[in-house]
Amino acid sequence: MTEAAKAWLNGQPVTPARAAAAAASLLAASRSAVVAGLGTDVAGARASVALAQAIGGSIDHMDADAVLANLEVLRRSGWIVTTPLQTRARADLVLLAGDGLVEAWPDMAERLALGEAPTVTGGSRRVVHLCPGTSPGGAAGHDGRGGGDFQTVATGQPILPTLAALRAIASGRNTSLDDAAAAPLRDLAATLAAARFGVAVWSSATLDTLAIEMLCGLIDDLNRKTRFAGLPLAPANGAEAVAQALAWTTGFPPRTGFASSAPRHDPWRFDAQRLIGCGEADAAVWISAFSPKPPDWDNAVPTIALVPSGTVFRTPPNVVFEVGRPGGDHEAMLFDPALGGIAFAAASAPSAAASVAATLAAITAALPPC
């Protein structure tokens, strides 16, 4: 860690080395610790795994619910998906499913060129927003920026029953809807079937597993006759790159424990919030390098926080490290929604602020030998 790194122990400023030593002894004394939050880059994810393995703890991400909403569908039945670049290049129909899309990806409409013709295949592009404004607290999402052929389809129902009815109609099956309610879905089903390369966009921060599964099932059905693919938008706080890095280093996404010889993955058991709430965990490392966010559990267990400057805690954690923003204060490997993959991000405003990876490595190095 650099000299400029800032750290606090029990509210008092200390050297980073002193803070790392204190964090290490706190973790060494714990029986079951969680490494949580995990708002970090690939290097930070690697260092989180190394620390969790060293202390026999478990690992979770603050947006794991959104990660797992998609993965539950993936590992139950699989899916057909595409990339943002192919959507922009080829999609003659874009189906925006539900809310939270612009929140998940503010540049979506511009990056996908929703108001323009497909850039490779030409012709025209239609955009249909299904069930806008039907999620609890959900915003309308796409606002039709950039013009183009844009319409909304609403049934007055939430997204899940609407998708269920749409899938049934698209497959020529009956629904319990009356004619008036079914009419817009019948039109939409015809539009979907007429697409040459359709793409359905969703955010798993808003759609739940059942809705995603229904949507992916619809995509699957459409591929009997035409081409259609999904475009899941990445969850927040670096979750996509972290989940990928955890997969290649541990074999599993977040919510994995390292107490036994082989890692164990269990979305319920290793939910950090649950572990702390019910007293199964007795110490926590909280990592949030992208936003000044304190952990939801306040200070229910002794906590070591790695956060940006300006983070406000109700109760100060035992140890606080100020860390830089990946891709801001320091270079990083991050998931880029516009590229649809992990890429190098140079530091946009380089500073001496410590990285999560370096801070965690210092804590791990300070652990007593086991």
Binding site: I80, T83, R90, R196, W248
Partner: protein, 537 residues
């Protein structure tokens, strides 16, 4: 430091050596026996076989498709050892335990090269490299459609190799992934990408030409069309013809070794293909042997994988309409009782045994598509001992064995032939002058196997493995935790290609083409810089 391995049988066919003797190493390199010098470290390897470290030219160990397979199949328990999608740590340990010191991940679409290199950086103990996939990418198709000349395409290929830090070019069912996006459901050698006149054949020839123009050490590495289909031996033969006199490497040839004979309309056509490979000195092939058990097929042949979804076991799959190739992940179980699987198993062995030049046939299971790489020791036993083959054949459906010639083949691979196929030839095919052999100046990547009757046991747990002269494995167990190098080519190109790419990417994709470049080693978490293999001049 001066190290001596003493008393072992040194099998080093690249240098014409096969006999008991000493091997001397100094500072990570093989050296000639120094006069009167005393070794600071001596390993008594009496009763052992000493070979150069193994090199796997085709194994799917990294990248977004492999990682999606990990996420798709938690029930295969990716974190444990003998499975089809092991984690990075396990990949390095298990390969090193078998005496391998370098592996090549052969199917990385340039846009996802950064993740692939991050994964490779986490594989301990061994060296790694990737092949960059071209042939379904919008920019190449645009260049071909505009009849841009050979040099423009070579510049583009060189720019891709440089940006993705790859060691060579791979084409995977060229044209088919692009066509599939236009709802084409089958695509052969002479089919054209919709709205163009660009055929698979033309893409293959174009990329062969770019490979030669750039002087890449590795020939175009090709995954042909019609993989897995009855009668597809015709496709493989036609592809070999299409290659002309230029070099061509055909990947996992076993998956194209099928005829339509017999009561089930499915038979081995391996003898035909072996004969063709024997006759064409410009062709090399790896086999992609099938072994029985649960695995997962991970392929950038998105069209083939889409069509194979019905065979998924367990019943789930992922299809990705990606940039360029994309891919598909379909779990699969090869069963001994299955007629088709048994024919596939036999066809692979026939190819190994009927291709007579070990310098042109390469030892792969197309991990994990034919079998996990952990099946290698058992496969070596099948090749080196015909009684092991006979015993296995007895357990397989008789009607399957009747549509192959395997039972009639008596050949057994010798240790020098194994050393060629798994060491010397891969190094030569990749242009790695200082690997694959034990002559003075070579990297001190050395595998020592304890001679025993059980060939599989001998090759599963090497008695000793040295990487750059340092012991990393003893009796199959890691004794060091080091990280190898990633190896690339750096062909020269006219920087003007960046202008064309920049304009295309900004307009078509709305992003900079530079954004996909793999950063320097340090940003990937690598302790050692990339190693460059020279191009041929």
């Amino acid at each position: 430091m001066l190290t001596r391995l003493t008393g072992g049988r040194i099998v080093d066919p690249a240098n014409g050596r096969d006999g008991i003797g000493d091997l001397w190493l100094r500072d990570g390199r093989i050296v000639t026996a120094p006069d009167g010098a005393r070794a600071e470290e001596t390993h008594d390897v009496t009763g052992c076989i000493v070979m150069a470290g193994g090199i796997d030219i085709h194994t799917h160990v990294a990248g977004t498709n492999v990682n999606t397979a990990r996420l798709l199949l938690p029930e295969l328990r990716a974190a444990t050892a003998a499975e089809s999608v092991p984690i990075t740590e396990t990949i390095g340990r298990l390969y090193a335990a078998m005496g391998y010191t370098m592996v090549v991940e052969p199917a990385i679409s340039p846009h996802v090269a950064p993740q692939a290199h991050l994964e490779l950086a986490d594989i301990p103990l061994i060296d790694t490299a990737i092949l960059a996939v071209l042939g379904n990418d919008d920019y190449l198709l645009r260049l071909m459609d505009a009849n841009e000349g050979e040099s423009a395409i070579a510049d583009y290929a060189a720019r891709v190799l440089s940006g993705s830090r790859a060691i060579g070019i791979k084409a995977i069912n060229p044209g088919a992934a692009a066509a599939f996006k236009s709802n084409v459901r089958s695509f052969g050698l002479d089919d054209a990408v919709p709205n163009s006149e660009i055929t698979s054949r033309a893409i293959i020839n174009t990329l062969q030409a770019a490979t030669e123009t750039l002087g890449l050490p590795h020939p175009l590495h090709l995954h042909c069309s019609n993989l897995g289909m009855p009668g597809n031996a015709d496709t493989a033969l036609a592809t070999m013809e299409a290659a002309g006199d230029a070099r061509l490497h055909i990947a996992h040839l076993q998956f194209y070794a099928y005829g339509k004979e017999g009561p089930r309309g499915f038979s081995s056509a391996a003898p035909l293909l072996a004969e063709a490979v024997n006759a064409k000195r410009n062709i090399t092939a790896d086999i992609g042997q099938v072994m029985f058990g649960q695995t997962v097929t991970i392929s950038s042949d998105v069209l083939r994988q889409f069509n194979a979804r019905g065979s998924a076991r367990p019943r789930k799959s992922v299809i990705i309409d990606g940039d360029g190739n994309g891919g598909g992940i379909v779990p699969y179980r090869y069963r001994k009782t299955d007629f088709f699987n048994a024919v596939q198993w036999a066809a692979g062995l026939e190819l190994f045994l009927l291709i007579n030049d070990p310098w042109r046939v390469f030892f792969t299971t197309d991990h994990p598509n034919g079998a996990p790489f952990t099946a290698y020791p058992d496969l070596l036993a099948l090749l080196m001992d015909r009684s092991v083959r006979a015993k296995q054949m007895e357990t397989l459906p008789k009607e399957a064995m009747e549509v192959t010639t395997l039972a009639s083949i008596t050949r057994e691979y010798t240790l020098p032939e194994i050393a060629i196929m798994t060491r010397a030839a891969p190094a030569r095919l990749l242009g790695l002058a200082d690997r694959g052999h034990l002559g003075a100046g070579a990297r001190a990547d050395v595998a020592v196997y304890r001679t025993q009757a059980d060939i599989a046991a001998m090759f599963r747990d090497a008695a000793l493995v040295l990487k750059d002269g340092v012991p990393i494995i003893r009796d199959g167990v890691p004794v060091a935790r080091s990280f190898g190098r990633a190896v690339t080519v750096r062909p020269e190109f006219d920087a003007a290609i960046n202008r064309g790419l920049s304009g295309f990417y900004e307009k078509i994709y709305g992003v900079s083409h530079l954004a996909f470049d793999v950063p320097a080693a340090e940003a990937l978490g690598r302790s050692q810089a990339f190693e460059a293999v020279p191009c041929r001049t």
